[in-house]
């Protein structure tokens, strides 16, 4: 009886593992098989030409560049918010502090809010102030989306800072600010990983940018211009009845997947490399 239990459970675990691998494999297979034919050099080196959406020449460079602009701005905002918050609740407040618990709870809620809600909220605020869809609006809303992601992963690594490392600078007469500068060195791998993961999340999100960043065929030259993004490029092309354009949607999806893949791999590489100097 006990052995049977063991066997069933083992089989279940194996099946779940295979299901996950199969799903990933199938997704990748679909994107690659449908998109690879349309993935030309033009796709990544040119913006959309006239008649691009009817199957004529051009590419999605506008969306690639737009996505990067957007996510870089968003990361800057998110870091400016999440690093001080994490340092404060971990190293200035005590573990039992009510305020620290409230902050963590708020970030947990923000973490769970679907991105379309951020998009709708951002849209509502922008309408209230009479703003049009713009790169700036997109940056702020994507920043809101990824701040809780960065903050929560930073919080996890900050909690595991050894007590000795906190006390070593303090016992030498350092102020807390000087201590935190030391801790940030130790946290560097964690910060890098958090940022790269957040980029992966932010660059692939369509719902936040749908109303806030808009869409355009041009590469934005100012924060107040609207900007194209890869998820929306996929969305619009996939909605076309022309097969050629649909295949380009898969090619764009392939580009996005490759970008995210590179980011996650470099996240792992950098976190390992930066850990070498840790103590």
């Amino acid at each position: 009886m006990k052995l049977l239990e063991e066997k069933i459970f083992k089989a279940l675990m194996l099946i779940s593992a295979f299901v996950i691998i199969a799903v990933i494999g199938y997704i990748l297979f679909t994107i690659v098989s449908k998109g690879i034919g349309s993935l030309t050099w033009d796709m990544i080196s040119k913006g959309p030409g006239g008649g691009f959406y009817l199957g004529k020449e051009g590419g999605v460079l506008n969306a690639i560049v737009g996505s990067f602009y957007l996510v870089i701005g968003a990361v800057v905002i998110a870091l400016f918010l999440s690093i001080p918050v994490t340092m404060y609740i971990n190293f200035y407040l005590t573990k039992t502090s009510f305020f620290a618990k409230t902050v963590r709870f708020s970030f947990d809620i923000l973490f769970g809010i679907p991105s379309i809600v951020y998009g709708a909220f951002g849209f509502a605020v922008m309408i209230y102030f009479g703003l049009k869809a713009s790169l700036f609006g997109g940056i702020v809303v994507v920043g809101m989306l990824i701040t809780p992601i960065i903050m929560r992963s930073l919080d996890e690594v900050a909690r595991f800072i050894p007590r000795d490392l906190i006390e070593a600078p303090l016992s030498l007469g350092a102020t807390k600010y000087e201590m935190i500068k030391i801790l940030l060195r130790q946290l560097m791998p964690g910060i890098t990983t958090a940022v790269l993961l957040a980029i992966g999340r932010g660059i692939g999100d369509a719902a936040t940018v749908l109303f806030t960043a808009g869409y355009t065929d041009n590469i934005p030259t100012s924060l107040s211009h609207p900007t194209a993004t890869l998820p929306l490029a996929i969305f619009f092309q996939l909605g076309s009845p022309i097969e050629e354009v649909q295949n380009r949607a898969y090619a764009s999806a392939l580009i996005l997947t490759i970008i995210i893949l590179i980011l996650s791999l470099s996240a792992r590489y950098f976190s390992r490399k930066l850990s070498k100097n840790k103590v």
Partner: protein
Amino acid sequence: MKTDNLEQVETISENSIIDIMTHSDIINPHIRVEGLNLNIGENHILKDVNLSIPSKKITCIIGPSGCGKTTLLRSFNRMHDDSPNVKITGKIFVDDENIYDEKAQVISIRKKMGLLAQRPCPLPMSILDNITYGPRIHGAWNRRKLYATAKHYLTEVGLWDEVKERLRSSPGHLSIGQQQRLCLARGLAVEPEIILGDEATSALDPISTKKIEELFVTLKKDYTIVLVTHTLRQAKRIADYIAFMYMGKLIEFGTTDQIFNHPQKQLTKDYISGYFS
């Protein structure tokens, strides 16, 4: 060692075998603890501790696990400041300044004391930067002077010849014993008057332990050294004075000879003879 310096002043507890001796007539005490009580939440950790730590001697605090010896040591440089629910009453005088006074500056207090933790904890920076970290946060900036400082203190702990080739590399590659000496040098570079050691050799191999112990003995001509130790033999080897603690109370204080050979209290006798540990 003169034992007649030490005078048993009074016994406080009326109904138990646990009695407290105070030695107010230690000549030139560097640290003077008066009526120290420390609570963490509901737990009464330190109970009315009175103690004088003599200047430029090695004082070992011994006692079984959980007797409060580390807590006492950490209260000397106010390391409990950031711990939640810690309540401290009483006074600790360092150079006749009450460090728990409202006006006391925690940074200048900590600058006076180097703390050596149980496990070495190098900062995430190069060996050279580790040593000069203390002077740098206290305002030194001249690179040549900083280098000289680093060389001086690394030599003092006998590490210079071992690391002079790789001052710019990470201390992570040093052995744990070398790391502990690095941490000692880092503490000395702040120019403290007192060295606090919290079981500073318990993570080390016998050879590194011996090196650190020898260092303490050499350093006591310039520094007051207070060590918490678990090993009685270590206390016997290097201590000038010994404070024995049990259940948060200071049971007995005296010279090493007095504590090991003529303990006054039954508890001390039992602990020294290995009756309990």
